[in-house]
């Protein structure tokens, strides 16, 4: 296993700057998630680590050794893609054994058998080993694709949205499985996703990537609780964090504060008492949330009551001081 360091990586595709000076430290054995919208540079970062793209500037290190000029095969990274790429004419067993049978590895068949069976057991596909890849369901195929990465015991796993083509139930199952396998094996994983749920549930640390630049790096809790910008605050959390004008709060905060953000689950919902009178736009018993409006601004709040407030009815929403995040006019956070 290995640690990974990126230093000032820039990568252009023609006139488009995909990465504008990305620096990162991924610790040995860490589950590291790159989170961002499409086009942010997540996949490019992954491909630079794997050696599939050569950066214009900057340096890639593995275990402190400079590998920037090293070809992909020698870096010993294992890639898992969004679309499972299995050999359709081979059985599950042979698909899993394939990376070990590469001429440069020369793993004895007995050892191959042991590794394949071990990986199959971990991913609960033991009973499918003799099936053709085409006889599997989508979830099973993706398990095999992940298994094929695991069987090699590489220095680093690079995963590019490996769960996004699966349905909700399978995604959840494989998410738990993936985390468990990573814990057990102590593997270093760099995982790309645009899905914030995958990011917060899987990551030891998350890097928020936007337009080729890192916005913030931290544990899921650090990023959720103390975002450094409004942008980052809006990246995590569903429904999205509320961004309210400072003018609602009179003189309560310093003058530099332009916006006050508060998470929906921290908004207090009531019929009277402190707060502002809002008009209900939409409410969902199912998702336990209500969207209401005050002075043209939509406010989202979590509620657990059994009767949903009707659209156009009035509710009182309060924003407890201890849960407020303060931002200046540039969207940067100001300590409370």
């Amino acid at each position: 296993m290995a640690s990974i360091t990126l230093e000032g990586i820039t990568k252009n595709f023609g006139a488009v700057a995909a990465l504008g000076g990305v620096s990162l430290d991924v610790a040995d054995g860490e589950f590291f998630v790159l989170l961002g919208p499409s086009g942010a540079g997540k996949t490019t970062t992954l491909r630079v680590i794997a050696g599939l793209e050569r950066p214009e500037a900057g340096c890639v290190r593995m275990n402190a050794q400079d590998v920037t000029a090293m070809p992909p095969a020698q870096r010993d990274c294992s890639f898992v893609f969004q679309q499972y790429s299995l050999y359709p004419h081979l059985s599950v067993y042979d698909n899993l054994a394939f990376p070990l049978r590469a001429p440069m590895r020369r793993v004895p068949e007995e050892e191959i058998k042991r590794r394949v069976e071990q990986v199959a057991a971990t991913l609960h596909i033991e009973s499918k080993l003799q099936r053709k890849a085409t006889q599997l369901s989508g979830g099973e195929m993706q398990r095999v694709a992940i298994g094929r990465a695991l069987v090699r015991e590489p220095r680093v796993f690079l995963m590019d949205e490996p769960l996004s083509s699966l349905d909700a139930k399978l995604r959840e199952e494989l998410r738990v499985e993936l985390k468990r396998v990573q814990r057990q094996s102590g593997a270093t994983v760099v995982y790309v996703t645009h899905d914030q749920v995958e990011a917060t549930t899987l990551a030891d640390r998350i890097a928020i990537l936007e337009a080729g630049r890192i916005q913030q790096v931290g544990t899921p809790e650090q990023i959720y609780r103390t975002p450094e910008s409004i942008h980052v605050a809006q990246r995590l959390g569903s429904p999205q964090i509320n961004v309210l004008p400072a003018s609602w709060f009179g003189q309560e905060h310093p003058r530099a504060v332009a916006n006050i953000a508060i998470r929906p689950e921290d908004v207090k919902v009531g019929r009277q008492g402190e707060g502002v009178d809002c008009t209900v736009i939409e409410s969902s018993l199912l998702k336990h949330h209500v969207i209401a409006e005050y002075e043209g601004v939509e406010v989202r709040a979590r509620f657990m009551e059994d009767v949903a407030p009707a659209p156009r009815s009035r509710i009182r929403l309060a924003f407890p001081r201890e849960h407020r995040l303060l931002f200046d006019s540039e969207g940067r956070r100001i300590a409370a």
Partner: protein, 369 residues
């Protein structure tokens, strides 16, 4: 505008029965989602409504008129397949006009329809553009525009968002629902994705193995699943289902799980053995010796606004949706309590929902049977 009724609909392919004796009223102006795993019969049902498949027996009416054996063209229903497919060699206007030109509609009428659709979807400024350069959201709106420009009585959609990537799928869901709120055209939408169903539907029809298991509002499906299959199929993380082998009789207000007594809404029918169903958001995490059942924290997942905590108990694993301030630790001994009002019971032999004071108070939102 259309009300679609299907009565005792049945479809057999050789010795395989794809749809078993289904009856359903799809009310005028509603967005109805047929939801189920692959092979459940949802697509076959949709294809029979469209006229692409004729039933083995049964009847389909459109606004009271029998259309069971009419050809698709004679039904004035639009079948939309993949919404994202646009003709790349045509501009935005060309794509929108295409379905109308096919029908040899007069020029003036085509222009009027296209400009209506463009203003509904706020894409008027794009009419002169090519579709290849469009941003994702605009592209989806154009695709949607092409589906609605014909102004059919009803829309039938078969997994139209299936191959979109996750980001656009959510965006498209919002667009579809907004459009429906404006047009109020009866829509039947097939999917296996419960998130899509929950986000879009006025009514959800859950199917499995050719059978309709439940037809109700999203709230009804979520809170009072008609059977164990629906309970397991809807909701992430799924409903906790705890086996309590003890019998219950009418009027009981608690259920025995092992040696413990758990308060439940008043039971309205007897059962030889029940399964207790409670969703993770209605389980409370307490100190080690509190609550009605104890266990050890097995696994935790962080979601920002909350944690999902899996607790191993002697009645099996139980998932809890805990407050974000909870900071649950793996290995910790904890106690659990259930929110009585939100417990549902299932008969373990029939796997069906057992009537209780809570379930009887609920009015199903849709007629079927």
């Amino acid at each position: 505008m259309a009300e679609i009724r299907i009565r005792n609909l049945q479809k057999r392919f050789a010795d395989f029965t794809a749809v078993k004796d289904s009856s359903l009223v799809l009310e005028d102006g509603k967005f109805v989602v047929l939801l189920g795993p692959s092979g459940c019969g949802k697509t076959t049902t949709l294809r029979m409504i469209a006229g692409l498949e004729f039933p083995t027996s049964g009847e389909i009416t459109l606004d009271g008129e029998d259309v069971t054996y009419r050809r698709p063209r004679e039904r004035d229903i639009a079948m939309c397949f993949q919404l994202f497919a646009l003709y790349p060699h045509m501009g935005v206007r060309g794509n929108l006009e295409f379905p109308l030109r096919n029908e040899r509609m007069p020029r003036a009428e085509i222009d009027r329809r296209v400009s209506d659709v463009a203003s509904i979807l706020r894409i008027g400024h794009l009419l002169g553009s090519s579709v290849t350069g469009l941003a994702g959201g605009d592209r989806q709106r154009v695709a949607l525009g092409r589906a609605i420009v014909r102004q059919p009585k009803a829309f039938l959609m078969d997994e139209p968002l299936g191959t979109l990537d996750a980001e656009f799928r959510e965006l498209m869901c919002v667009e579809l629902r907004k459009l429906h709120d404006r047009l109020k055209t009866t829509t039947v939408f097939v999917t296996h994705d419960q998130n899509e169903a929950m986000a879009l539907a006025d009514h959800i029809v859950v199917m499995n193995q050719g059978e309709i298991l439940q037809a109700d509002s999203p709230h009804g499906i979520y809170s009072f699943p008609s059977c164990l299959f629906v309970a397991k199929f809807i909701g992430r993380p799924p409903m906790n289902l705890i086996k309590a082998d003890a019998p219950v009789t009418r009027g009981d207000t608690f259920v025995r799980i092992g040696r413990r007594e758990v308060d439940v809404p008043r039971v309205e029918a007897p059962s030889a053995g029940v399964i207790v169903g409670v969703r993770p958001e209605y389980v409370r995490l307490l100190g080690a010796d509190q609550g009605c059942i104890g266990g050890r924290v097995q696994h935790v997942e962080y979601f920002g606004s909350h944690w999902v905590v899996e607790v191993q108990t002697d009645a099996g694993p139980i998932k809890v949706l805990a407050d974000k301030s909870a900071r649950p630790q793996t290995g910790l001994q904890v106690g659990l309590d259930f929110d009585k009002q939100h417990i549902v019971l299932f008969d373990s032999a029939s796997e069906k929902l057992l009537p209780s004071a809570a379930t009887l108070a609920h009015q199903p939102g849709m007629r079927h049977g």
